[in-house]
Amino acid sequence: MYKYILRRFLIFIPMLFIVTVVVFTMATLAPGDPLTGEVLDPTVDPEVVEQRREALGLNDPPPVQYMNWLSEISQGNLGDSLHYSGRTVEDLIMSRAPNTVYLAAFSLFITIVIGVPLGMYSARKQYTPVDYTATVFGFFGLAVPNFFFALIAVYVFSFQLGLFPPQGTISQPGLTGIDAFLDRLHHLVMPGITLGLASTAIYMRYTRSEMLDVMGQDFIRTARAKGMGEQNVLYKHTLRNALIPLITLLGFEFGTLLSGAVVTEAVFSFPGLGQLFLTGIQNQDFPLIMGINLIIAVTVLVGNLLADIMYAVVDPRIRYD
């Protein structure tokens, strides 16, 4: 077991290194730099801009820039944002990450709480109207662009029904304790559902298919032959086996959620990493883009690592050697 984890970890390190190279290469390939805009400002002395370029190391050859960057990040320093003057990338990421983590966690919660049971139910009632409804819902979740869903949701639930706030993370500053928590939760509902829409559909389909797969297995028949009740067969024997493959899905889920978050956060003015990334992209703030890409890639890598480990824990068939 420990060997297994260690091996996963050893694969993790070179991947991490390659990730940094890729991130950096992408950044260097990009045209222009963030100071280009200032060059165009008639009130700014071009020489000053050039000085700033020099100071920021933008004129060094790429390998040198890479090494600098790498040595910085190895000290936990993701560099200074170019667009957000005076702020470090890690500071920016830290200021936004919690929101995205809440959002992702909430959306994951929705995904699992809705997707998995629905998939189970659908599998149990295969080929009944319930199943078909769930199937159509599943496909629908995959077919609606999430910003479109979000806009309509905002219109209906915020402006028509007034149920949920249309944007933001909190409604008023200064709340504490349970009120603050509920306030945040209230703000998470719509973005969370929007973000989780596609995943929920995928989880639902996946759970359904896995359940059906497992339900057709010999050991389920054995369980029945042992006299186990339907509930026991379903929850103890089927579900546990069906959920194992879903763990792999979870490993990539954070990445998927983040992709979705770029769009969702934009609609709901939700100040998270997705929005930060988008600003970075719009301003060609490459230290920031690199930083976020790196953080996310590492998170996904860690997510996969955890998924692998979790997989090994719940599935005794995995060989650790």
């Binding site: 050991f219 028949r221 029945r224 032959a225 042992k226 009740g229 026991n232 086996n241 194992i244 005794p316």
Partner: protein, 334 residues
């Protein structure tokens, strides 16, 4: 037969409804198992053996399957009339079952001990999990695990096929069932392992005084194990007799063919007999006798209607027009 009847199946019909087709997997099976007896059902693939056994257990996948008619009586109690809940009490406790695929018949995520203990708890043979585990160790020792204490903590994938089949047997016997149904318990195993398992089943049977309904397509296994043999073809029993009779005086042309086409280790056959054609699909049985298209003795009358299973000699039932005096059939000796 003076012995007490344990299981009695009458005119069982189990059909599968597949779109516009109906597969009559089991189509009028009668069988009975006496206390302490080992009855074997033999027949080629697709003849309905497994479905018969699953019907007895009421484990037919539904839909598309459905027990259409018939009765299954265990010590006089009609199992088909029980509620689902009551039936679960019968399964495992009164009738236990082991399957062909030891590799996949155990749940991969639970330890062997957990799976045995679960069954014991379910049927209230033990009160706590701990007790269950202890009992499991005991059971495993009985089926020949030298390191039973460790084995209970192992997961199925850590065991070989033969060992898993032993676990299955231990589990099946754990609640002291009256009847053990074994659906091709050794088909997936190597001969040497098969011999071990068959041996084990014999000893277990003697120890627990249970009856066995054994399903197989291997006539050799039947010869080793059974007291009485039922030959199945096309969802029906075509011959029902004692082991000795079957191997010495098989009556149904199909049984005859089977025996002749089987190479054996004892005798040197110059050339194997063979039955031409293939087993008819369950959704498209021929008219009349289902074996008729492949039967060397087939005649006009065979294609008319399904012959009845009748007792041609005491305790020897055959479903063939040749033995039906009314139809003018003449018994022949092969």
């Amino acid at each position: 037969m003076s012995k007490e009847t344990l299981l009695e199946v009458e005119d069982l019909h189990t059909y599968f409804y597949l779109g516009d087709k109906v597969a009559k997997a089991v189509d009028g099976v009668d069988l009975n198992v006496h206390k302490g007896e080992t009855v074997a059902i033999v027949g080629e693939s697709g003849s309905g053996k497994s479905i018969t056994s699953l019907s007895i257990m009421r484990l037919i996948p539904q839909p598309p399957g459905k027990i259409v008619s018939g009765s299954v009586k265990l010590e006089g109690r009609d199992l088909l009339a029980l509620s689902d809940k009551e039936m679960t009490n019968v399964r495992g406790d009164d009738i236990a079952m082991i399957f062909q695929e030891p590799m996949t018949s155990l749940n991969p995520v639970y330890t062997v001990g957990e799976q045995i203990a679960e069954m014991l708890l379910r049927h209230k043979k033990v009160k706590t999990k701990k007790e269950g585990k202890a009992k499991a160790v005991e059971l495993l020792q009985q089926v020949g695990f030298p390191r039973a204490e460790e084995t209970v903590k192992e997961h199925p994938h850590q065991l070989s096929g033969g060992m898993r089949q032993r676990v299955m047997i231990a589990m099946a016997m754990s609640c002291d069932p009256k009847l053990l149904i074994a659906d091709e318990p050794t088909t997936a195993l190597d001969v040497t392992i098969q011999a071990q398992i068959l041996e084990l089943m014999q000893s277990v049977k003697e120890k627990y005084h249970s009856s066995i309904l054994m399903i197989t397509h291997d006539l050799g296994v039947v010869a080793e194990m059974a007291d009485r043999i039922l030959v199945m073809y096309g969802g029906q029993i075509v011959e029902n007799t004692s082991k000795y009779k079957l191997f010495t005086d098989a009556k149904h042309p199909y049984t005859e063919g089977l025996l002749a086409s089987m190479p054996t280790i004892e005798e040197d056959k110059e050339r194997l007999e063979s039955i031409s054609g293939t087993v008819p699909p369950a959704d498209n049985f021929p008219q009349g006798c289902r074996f008729a298209p492949r039967c060397q003795y087939a005649m006009e009358a065979c294609t008319k209607e399904v012959p009845a299973l009748r007792e041609v000699e005491p305790g020897h039932y055959v479903r063939c027009i040749l033995y039906d005096e009314n139809q003018g059939g003449t018994a022949h000796d092969s």
